[in-house]
C-alpha cells in the first residue's frame, strides 16, 4: 500500500481520509484508504469496475447513509472536522459538499426552479434571479438557456442537463464538488464541454471526479488515485487504493506494477 506520505501535496488538504474502510452490512467494499485532497485541485479516482471508487466518493458527502447497512470505519475529515462524528448533521455536510451524478438527473421542474430549489430549501435570502443567472453562467449554460428558463429542465439535451446539474450544485456555493462519472453518458462534444468546465471550476472549488476514462483523468485532473479490486479468501471483491500521486506521475512513471498495467491498458 502506497500512500502519498512520501510525496505530500503542495496545497492545504481540504478532505483527508485516514484508514477509511467501507462496509455494506458485513461485506467489505473498500479497505483502508489514505487520501489527501488538496484545496482547489482536481483529483481523479480511477480504476476498474467494482474497485469502490464511487463508494469512496459517496462517503465524502455521506450519501452512503441512504443505503441500509452501509458503514464507514476509520476517519474522514473535512476542514479537520470528523465527517462521521455523531454530532455532525449529514444534511449540512451535503450543503457544503455538492454532487453531480453519473446520469444527468434534473428535477422535472423548470430550468429556473431546478437551480432555485437548492437555494429555497437552504433558506437563501438574496435575489434568486441573480443566483440562477450566476450559476448558469458558471456552468457555461446561460447563453443556451437564458430565453427559456421557464421550460422543463428535462427537455434539454443530455449534455445541457448535466451542465444544469452542475449549475444546480454550484448554486449552493459548496467547498467541494463530487462528480461521479459525470460524462459517461454523454457524447464526445458534450464530454469536452464538461471537461473544460471542470478546469474552469477549479478556480473556485475543489473537485473530486470518479471516471472510467483514463484519458479524461489525465486531461482534467491534477492528482490521480488508482484503485484496484481484489478477492478475499471467501471470494468477495473489495477495493483498495493502490497509488495516489500527481496525475503526471501516475500516467508517466507509476510506482506500482498494477497501476502501470492499468494505465497502459493491459487490464480494466
Amino acid at each position: 500500500m502506497v500512500t502519498d506520505a512520501a510525496n505530500p501535496p503542495e496545497a492545504e488538504p481540504i478532505i483527508r481520509t485516514n484508514g477509511m474502510s467501507v462496509y455494506y452490512g458485513s461485506f467489505l467494499a473498500v479497505r483502508n484508504v489514505f487520501l489527501e485532497i488538496p484545496k482547489h485541485h482536481v483529483v481523479a479516482l480511477i480504476g476498474p469496475s467494482g474497485c469502490g471508487k464511487s463508494t469512496v466518493l459517496r462517503c465524502f458527502n455521506r450519501l452512503n447513509d441512504l443505503i441500509q447497512g452501509a458503514r464507514v470505519e476509520g476517519k474522514i475529515t473535512f476542514h479537520d472536522v470528523d465527517l462521521y462524528d455523531p454530532k455532525i448533521d449529514p444534511v449540512e455536510v451535503r450543503r457544503r459538499i455538492g454532487m453531480v451524478f453519473q446520469k444527468p438527473n434534473p428535477f422535472p421542474k423548470s430550468i429556473y426552479e431546478n437551480i432555485a430549489f437548492g437555494a429555497r430549501i437552504n433558506g437563501f435570502r438574496g435575489s434568486l434571479d441573480e443566483l440562477v443567472e450566476q450559476s448558469l453562467r458558471k456552468a457555461a449554460l446561460w447563453d443556451e438557456v437564458k430565453d427559456k428558463l421557464k421550460q422543463s429542465g428535462q427537455a434539454l439535451s443530455g449534455g445541457q442537463q448535466q451542465r444544469l446539474c452542475i449549475a444546480r450544485a454550484i448554486a449552493l456555493t459548496p467547498d467541494v464538488l463530487l462528480m461521479d462519472e459525470p460524462a459517461s453518458s454523454l457524447d464526445p462534444i458534450s464530454t469536452m464541454r464538461i471537461e473544460d468546465l471542470i478546469k474552469e471550476l477549479k478556480q473556485d472549488y475543489t473537485i473530486i471526479i470518479v471516471t472510467h476514462n483514463m484519458q479524461q483523468a489525465s486531461r482534467v485532473s491534477d492528482r490521480t488515485a488508482f484503485f484496484n479490486a481484489e478477492l478475499t479468501e471467501k471470494g468477495n471483491r473489495f477495493g483498495y487504493l493502490v497509488e495516489y500521486d500527481k496525475t503526471e506521475t501516475i500516467f508517466r512513471s507509476p510506482q506500482q506494477k498494477a497501476t502501470k498495467d492499468y494505465v497502459s491498458g493491459r487490464f480494466g
Binding site: L63, V91, K103, F117, I121
Partner: protein
Amino acid sequence: MTRSLTAPRTLFGLGMTALSGLFVVIALVPLLAVLFYVTLQGANLLSWEVLTELVPPAGVSAGGIGNALLGTLIMVGIAALISVPIGVIAAIFLSEFGSNEPMSNWIRFATNVLSGVPSIVIGVFAYGILVVPLGTFSALAGGVALSLLMLPIVVRTAEEALKLVPDELRQASVGLGARRFQTVFGVVLPAAMPALITGVMLAIARASGESAPLLFTALFSQYWPQGLLEPTPSLAVLIYNYAIIPFAYQQNLAWTAAFILITIVLLTSIASRLTMWRR
C-alpha cells in the same frame, strides 16, 4: 424462404390470432352493450329541466334528477376530502419512509383486505358508527362510507405513483442538502402528481357509482340537500328506487340517472388518462 400458407404451424398461428381477436371482441361486447342500451334509454329524456329539477314522487310525471345529482356530488366530495389526504399521506409513508419496516407490509395487507370488503358491509359499518349515534341518515354518513371504499384505491395507486419516481431524483435532492420531508414534498410529490391525480380520479369514478354503501347511510330524499346531517338523495339510489316501481316516468328517470352516472364515470376516466398523457 417463402411463407407457406398451408404449413401446420402457419395455420395454427393464424387460428390462434383469430381466436384471440374474437375473445377481445367478446370482452368488449358487455361494455359497448351497456353504453349503447343506457344511452338509448337514458338520453331521450335528457334536458336541462331534467338535470335541474327535483325528483318527483311516485306517480307524478314531471320533474328531474337535479337533487340526486347534487347529492352524489356532495357525498363523493366528502369522501374525496377524507380519503385523498389520508390515502396519499399513508402512501408517502409506505413508499418514502417505511418501505423497509414490517409495519408497512401490515398496512399494505390491511389495505388489500379493506378493498375486498363488500360495499354493503361498508354501508352497514357506516350505519353503525354514524347513523345510529346521530339518529339520522345523512350525507356525512354516506360520504364516510364512500371514503372507506375509496381509501384502498387511493393508497395503492398513490404508492405506485410515488414508486415510479426515479431514485436518481431523490438522490439529487438529498445531494443538495434537502431534508427528507423537503425531498418528498419538494421533488417526489410534484414528480408523481399526474399519476396521483389519475389514481384519485379512478377512486372517484368508482365511488360515484356505488349504491350499496348509501342505501342505509344517506337514504334518499325528494328535496334539495338541506345540510350534511339530512337524508340525501344520490343518483345510484335513485336508480335503485325507481327502476323497480311500476311508473313509466320514474323508470325513464332511472335510465336518465344511469346515463348521467356512466357519463360522469367515463369523463373522469378520460380526464385521468389525459393527465397521464400530458406528461
